[in-house]
């Protein structure tokens, strides 16, 4: 990149907020995607206002360089990696909560706010922001919006998109726009909010968001349900809804996940069980109790071997802790894990989990499945040792066939992580060429010079 461009960037942002030394750009050459090769940008900028973001994009259109937005770099599909160089726009300085509006149940935030910080602030006001991605301790709300992040509570409360009322966005050509309204309903014009949320930073850089809040549930109840068969556990999920209960989360762990987490952080999970479900219900205390009883009855009918209720908050927290520990625990036994986040319709869940295990076995790869069974979203982890190139190749083949199975079951190849660069070659499996073509045309219309996060989502023609 030309020195004069760096100079212009310094003019826009101030020298201290532009970094271009090799040591500094090396720090923004990766995100949390496993095995992604490093991709260095030419510069990293830390804008302090939406106007500065807009100026950077205007410059990019004039001079012609890629611009890659970045939150905390916790994404798993390479979306924040500047694969074509250019300028990384970090949202880390835009990290203020601008307003909590308890009367209208809204919060106005800048994109760099850490999701858990937002939740804690909101909870202190007796309110509730449900989306809870696994990385909430450090990921940013801007990244959550760009990736349309989900989490365990999606089964009852939906995903990030369901909480977005309005956005301030810098479009690829550097235009600052406000989309949406401060109301729950608004049908004026196209629903561009839905286009921007989940665009993986290819259609705009979100500089401010007005998010919807809920009253915090008065109480929560947690149950641990143990099964001797994996299919029985998966089948119990659909049965729960059929019985008229909408839990706030139903999490699934297979035997490999249970054993792994017990080794890492023992919580007394039965290691001989084929699978466990962790079910959470919420509401007023009598409602929670009633729902928990109902869930218990359904689970017994579905062949549960053992049901433990997390009577106290501590017990419930311990159960959740072991569920959250699965990811880290797996990372411990296999340094490299291929983590795919497939989704299937609920009724197909039993076929999916048994099919995935069969395919992994067929390709000779160790496999652990866990995740948000309540919404049909299962994290398939293929465990590979570092340096085992053959196992890695087999894991790749296994992924191909697992995705084929998922599509056959009318599911989706990614429920939360997005496409980024790592799933580009698979999108044709799920989307018809006409659908991809339509999306590419939208991208071209909004970003005619192709400056914003180029090379993502769509495979290069």
């Amino acid at each position: 990149m030309d020195k004069s461009v760096i100079k212009e960037l310094c003019g826009i942002l101030g020298k201290e907020h532009v970094q271009s030394a090799p040591e500094d750009v090396a720090l923004y050459a990766y995100d949390a995607t496993p095995f992604a090769p490093v991709a260095r940008p030419d510069a990293v900028v830390f804008p302090g206002s939406a106007e500065e973001v807009a100026s950077v994009l205007q410059l990019a259109n004039r001079v012609g360089f890629p611009v890659v937005p970045r939150g905390a770099g916790s994404g798993l599909t390479g979306g924040a990696r500047p694969i074509l160089g250019g300028v990384v726009v970090s949202t880390q300085r835009l990290d203020r909560i601008l307003k909590i509006d308890s009367d209208n149940l809204q919060i106005v935030v800048q994109p760099g706010v850490v999701t858990e910080d937002l939740q804690e602030k909101v909870e202190a006001a007796g309110l509730f922001y449900p989306p809870d991605p696994q990385s909430k301790e450090f990921c940013t709300i801007g990244g959550n919006l760009a990736e349309n992040a989900g989490g365990p509570r999606a089964v009852k409360y939906g995903v990030t998109r369901n909480y977005v009322l309005a956005l301030q966005v810098v479009l690829p050509e550097g235009t600052l726009v406000r989309l949406g309204a401060r109301t729950l309903k608004s049908v004026v014009g196209y629903d561009l909010l839905s286009l921007l949320v989940g665009c993986e930073g290819t259609l705009g850089i979100i500089t401010e968001a007005t998010l919807r809040l809920l009253p915090a549930p008065e109480s929560r109840g947690t149950l641990l349900v143990v099964f001797d068969g994996m299919e029985a556990a998966a089948g119990a999920v659909a049965a729960t809804f059929k019985a008229g209960v909408l839990p706030s989360a139903i999490e699934f762990m297979d035997q490999a996940s249970i054993r792994c987490v017990e080794e890492y952080e023992p919580a007394g999970l039965p290691t001989d069980a084929a699978a466990v479900l962790v079910v959470e219900v919420d509401g007023s205390p009598p409602e929670t109790e009633r729902l928990a009883e109902k869930v218990k009855a359904v689970m017994e009918k579905s062949g549960a071997r053992l049901i433990r209720t997390g009577a106290s908050e501590e017990e419930a927290e311990a159960l959740w802790k072991s569920r959250r520990a699965v990811g880290p625990a797996l990372a411990r036994i296999a340094p490299i894990k291929v983590n795919e986040d497939i989704v299937v319709p609920l009724s197909r869940l039993p076929q999916a989990v048994s099919g995935i295990h069969e395919l992994a076995k067929k390709h000779g790869v160790k496999c652990a499945c866990f995740g948000h069974a309540g919404d049909g979203n299962i994290h398939v982890n293929l465990l590979v040792d570092t340096g085992d190139a053959d196992a890695l190749r087999r894991a790749d083949l296994a992924v191909d066939s697992i995705f084929e199975l998922v599509i056959e079951l009318e599911g989706s190849i990614t429920g939360e992580h997005g496409v980024g660069t790592t799933k580009q070659r698979f999108i044709g499996m799920e989307l018809k060429p006409e659908a991809i073509e339509t999306m590419v045309r939208i991208k071209q219309a909004l970003d005619p010079r192709g400056v914003l996060n180029p090379g993502k989502i769509f495979p290069s023609p």
Binding site: A21, E23, L27, E116
Partner: protein, 404 residues
């Protein structure tokens, strides 16, 4: 990212473990040289171990950073002044006392208008305007009349003093000796001991650290001399150095391993000697809160012992502050190389202390002590920060007059 104290202030990738490891990796792949900026990034780590604690794979980032620093040091990329301090001054037996005496005089000249007891510290002029230097003791602890050999009765405890307790806070060392004696231990303080070597080691000055390790080994474990049952110190960082790094530096000397095995953090030893057996919680006296030093809570995995001691003091009450285990931001050399960052991190600690409504802050590490005394002093002049042995001395044994 959620736990790194440096990242919590900078919010930049260079602060966090992942960034450090990537930087070092890029250097090893030949993509980054040992530039000034590289050094900046490598020194911007507190070595607090928070990342390792929360990492499922327990990646020891601090150790990787130390190796990277050692490489920098070997290739002479340290500034001449730091090199001089770490290689010549700290390992020297004569230099340091002389220098400190000089500093005391100059301090007296500069600060002539500030009364000694006001709790204010002097400020350096020049670049680090806001820098406050703690007062230097009139007489170092080691210059006093001390038991130099075991007397023969009770658990044989060797006290390692450390630089801060020797030159800046002799009360801490005196309290350590007094408290252990009161708890029935047979205490002695070898005269030849010096700096524990952690500042040099942390900065990658391995040879200077080895020299100090050798000297301390000879002082504490002379051939044919008395073998202590325990070695303790009012400073968790010194303890960590002696326990973990001293045997690494002297792998061929079996005495080094013996010495390391004997090292017990002060509060753990005091509890073992019955220091927490008391009449239960006090309803009166000043309200104390406790800051967990990284070297004690993560280094030794010891969080309970200091609390057992502090919650059973007859003369003081105890309150827990928010995030007591979060690093204070001192990080040894970090405080020198990244002063502003260090100050910003300590500010978070100060907020926790003030929110707890405590009257006094207790900790068990000389680095934390200096850092927090400076940080608290900035917000609340006169606010006392003391060590665990001092707290026991003041509020357990009812002897309010510490030797000067």
């Amino acid at each position: 990212m959620a736990v790194c104290p440096v990242y919590s202030v900078t919010r930049r990738e260079g602060g966090v473990a992942r960034g450090k490891l990537m930087t070092i990796q890029a250097h090893h792949q030949g993509e980054l040289g040992l530039s000034r900026r590289y050094r900046d990034l490598i020194t911007a780590c507190l070595l607090c171990g928070s990342c390792t604690q929360s990492c499922p794979n327990e990646v020891d980032t601090a150790a990787v950073v130390q190796v990277a620093r050692a490489e920098l040091a070997v290739k002479k990329k340290l500034g001449w002044f730091r090199r001089f301090v770490l290689r010549r001054l700290l390992p020297s037996r004569r230099f340091l006392p002389v220098l400190l005496r000089g500093a005391r005089w100059s301090r007296a000249l500069w600060a002539a208008k500030i009364p000694e007891d006001s709790g204010l510290y002097i400020r350096f002029s020049g670049k680090k305007k806001r820098r406050r230097i703690p007062p230097i003791a009139k007489k170092s602890f080691q210059a006093g009349d001390l038991p130099r050999a075991p007397a023969g009765e009770g658990m044989k405890v060797l006290v390692f003093v450390g630089c801060v307790s020797n030159y800046l806070r002799p009360q801490a060392a005196a309290a350590t000796v007094q408290v252990l004696k009161s708890l029935g231990a047979d205490v002695w303080v070898p005269g030849d001991q010096g700096c524990c070597g952690l500042p040099s080691f942390g900065m990658g000055e391995v040879e200077a650290a080895r020299k100090l390790a050798r000297r301390n080994l000879e002082a504490c474990m002379p051939v044919g001399g008395p073998v202590p049952d325990a070695i303790t110190t009012p400073c968790a960082s010194c303890a960590a150095m002696l326990k973990k790094h001293l045997p690494q530096l002297l792998p061929d000397d079996p005495r080094a391993r013996t010495l390391a095995e004997k090292v017990v953090p002060f509060s753990r030893l005091a509890v073992r000697l019955g220091g927490s057996a008391a009449a239960g919680e006090s309803a009166q006296g000043p309200l104390l809160c406790y800051h967990d030093p990284c070297h004690l809570s993560r280094g030794f995995g010891e969080k309970d012992a200091p609390r057992q001691l502090l919650t059973t003091l007859p003369g003081a009450r105890f309150v827990e502050m928010d995030h007591p285990c979060k690093c204070c931001g001192h990080g040894g050399n970090f405080n020198v190389s990244h002063y502003d960052l260090s100050t910003a991190i300590s500010r978070q600690k100060v907020e926790s202390v003030l929110a707890s409504a405590a009257d006094m802050l207790v900790t068990e590490c000389s680095g934390c002590l200096i850092q927090l005394a400076e940080a608290m002093g900035r917000q609340r002049p006169g606010f006392k920060v003391i060590t665990t042995p001092e707290a026991l001395f003041l509020f357990k044994f009812d002897k309010p007059n510490l030797p000067p």
